[in-house]
Amino acid sequence: MGNNVTAATKFGFIKEFWQYRELFYFFIWRDVKVRYKQTVLGALWAVIQPFSTMIVFTIFFGKFAKMPSEGVPYPVFSYSALVPWTFFAGAVGNSGNSLIGNSDLLTKVYFPRFAIPASAALSGIVDFFIASLILFGIMIFYHIPFSWSLMFWPILVIPLIILSLGLGMVFSSLNVRYRDIKYTIPFIIQVLLFITPIIYPISILPERYQRLAALNPLTGIIEAFRSTVIPNKNVDFLLLAVSITVSLLIFLLGLAYFRKTEKEFADIV
């Protein structure tokens, strides 16, 4: 064979993806650019979503329900989880609908199909970092000392990306075949919001349920995000390791399912 790209070998797709990296970059660039171009508030949107949710949560769960918040004011407690959560929810939702939203591309040009859900998932990363800056502002406002562990805040987004990519790939390819998947994605995301310790600390769960909650890969990741912000809260490395392992498993399963189904995308989309 000549210098043409081949995805025939088992891991050829990785090499191929590398060859198409510029397109991947352009897809992300397009999504980010369009998002900020189309809205009046532009970059402010990145902040409004987690921030207003934080205010609602603070009023109802912090003030009225008197939810414990691990020694920091409830706004800091909830916002530190809402920033990664917002990224996750957006990434899964966007990439889950990405293939059907780009059906013209699927039927008219060739490129590694993985680039579509992946770029859709990653385009929220800019929002994530803008929303993170506000977190630091809130911490200063409440006189929360910055600790060295805050350095891990941006790094923790990596397992979060892996997890949302895994789910995004499954949802997006199911979406091509079954059009009612579109309606189930928001529902699943909503359920995840409540079974993940975002509104409440994991410590309010009985011991037995804590172990069960650990199987939810979001638990360990969100908890770890929180421990970089809250003083005297140590990272639960075991919990994080479990979450990362589960995330990787979901990613690999998602990739396998995606690779298996991508061959018929152009036939049925």
Partner: protein
């Protein structure tokens, strides 16, 4: 010569039943349960869009692909471009591939012209560097420099097409797959597009070109593949293949009377249908031959199934290479027909002087109404491709030919398709000898 493309026993199957059913996840679950409980077999409806196709294309060859709709041309192009996966068979391609199945793929309306050039270029497989170096040429070609930083949602559709074609035209790959994306924009731009395609011939690139326009294919491609119902029917020199294709395509016998009641694949709502078409003398007498320069009455028989207001009757004439000669239409001649009620009838069109040169011509017939109230779009009620074929013959009596010569200056020598498809009545006046070359200057 090394082969750039080798295709061996390529087949592609579509399972239509699978595509139509089970588009909802819950349906899929229900059906799965049904199958498990009742052990009922799946009802399968399969179509072989491509069936055991093999061919190879040498480096630098330009190959045209022709065939009717649904013959598998687009599927082949999509499989070669790796957009679709084949069911069976092997493909081997040597070199960098670019495929142009559509103009402006992936354009985003909110982004500016410049941004879309980069985006589209990268979608087509260009490197950012490459786009950057060609940006001026692309912009120049598309004639959009003034609007380069305007979001393309403010562009006219023509401008967007031009922009799309320009990016595509600057795609520089060893192998190019092109679907008929040529006919874009205004006439001047179309010519530019065609010229670009012609340049491909001298560029040493391997090109596979799918088209419906026989004249374009014959012009651009020395070799042509003819696909029919998923199979490679013929592979050879373009003029040979095109002639065979056309003789097949015009398989209807040339007559002067056609029954159109049982035409397969007709389009439209069916509120009104053609029953037949007949060629008569101007006096309404049956006619066996149609001669160049004749007086002709064309009678269109129709059947109305539901009341229909202001139907517009049309038929056109095409040459054997598919070029349209002319179109006759009630609305084109400003003739309005009031509401028609269920029943049958006919409408005549009188052609005093059928100044079409001898050859074989094919007719498409259709009936539209114009939805004036809401969309201003045409609604198609009946549509027949190649419903009739006529042979226009050389007038057989000298007298007639003399008559023609007298009235419009057409001599016997003129009755040849070599001169074109029609002649325009004219009179020559010899003005004597002049010693200097003047063009009505100082006269």
């Amino acid at each position: 010569m090394t082969d750039a493309i080798t295709v061996e026993h390529l087949s592609k199957k579509f399972d239509i039943s699978k595509l139509r059913k089970e588009t909802q996840f819950r349906e899929a679950l229900v059906n799965f349960a049904k199958r498990a409980i009742f052990r009922s077999k799946d009802f399968k409806e399969e179509i072989w869009a491509l069936n055991n196709v093999s061919f190879s294309v040498g480096k630098g060859e330009i190959v045209g692909i022709i065939g009717r709709n649904g013959a598998g041309k687009s599927t082949l192009l999509k499989i070669l471009s790796k957009i679709m996966y084949p069911t069976n068979g092997k493909i081997n391609i040597q070199g960098r591939v670019g495929s142009l199945l559509e103009v402006g793929t992936g354009f985003h309306w909110e982004l500016s012209g410049r941004e879309n050039i980069y985006l589209n270029g990268s979608i087509l497989g260009m490197r950012k560097k490459e786009v950057k170096s060609k940006l001026d040429a692309i912009v120049d070609f598309a004639e959009v420099e003034r609007f380069l930083d305007t979001p393309i949602k403010y562009y006219s559709s023509g401008m967007r097409l031009k922009l799309g074609f320009s990016v595509a035209a600057h795609l520089d790959t060893d192998i190019l797959f092109v679907d008929e994306v040529l006919a874009v924009g205004d006439v001047a731009f179309q010519k530019k597009c065609l010229d670009t395609m012609k340049d491909l011939r001298n560029s040493g690139r391997t090109v596979i070109f799918v088209s419906h326009t026989m004249s374009t294919v014959e012009n651009l491609c020395p070799r042509v593949l003819w696909f029919d119902k998923g199979e490679l029917r013929m592979d050879g020199r373009s003029s040979d293949v095109i002639n065979h294709y056309i003789s097949q395509f015009g398989e209807i016998e040339a007559k002067t009377k056609f029954d159109l009641t049982d035409v397969p694949n007709r389009q439209g709502t069916g509120i009104i249908r053609y029953l037949g078409i007949e060629f008569l003398t101007l006096d309404g007498e049956p006619k066996e031959h149609i001669y160049c320069g004749d007086g002709l009455k064309v009678r269109l028989y129709y059947k109305v199934n539901k009341p229909i207001s202001k139907p517009e009757f049309y038929f056109n004439m095409k040459t054997d290479v598919g070029s349209r000669v002319t179109t006759f239409g009630t609305a084109l001649s400003g003739h309005e027909i009031q509401t028609l009620y269920p029943g049958t009838g006919y409408i005549d069109v009188d052609i005093e002087f059928f100044n079409i040169l001898p050859d074989r011509y094919y007719m498409n017939l259709w009936i539209n109404t114009c939805d004036v109230l809401i969309t201003e779009n045409d609604i198609n009620h009946d549509g027949i491709d190649c419903g009739a074929a006529i042979n226009v013959e050389v007038p057989n009596s000298n007298q007639l030919s003399n008559e023609l010569e007298k009235t419009c200056g057409l001599a016997n020598k003129g009755f040849d398709k070599w001169w074109g498809v029609m002649f325009i009545p004219c009179k020559w006046n010899f003005q004597g000898l002049h010693t200097s070359n003047i063009l009505t200057k100082n006269v």
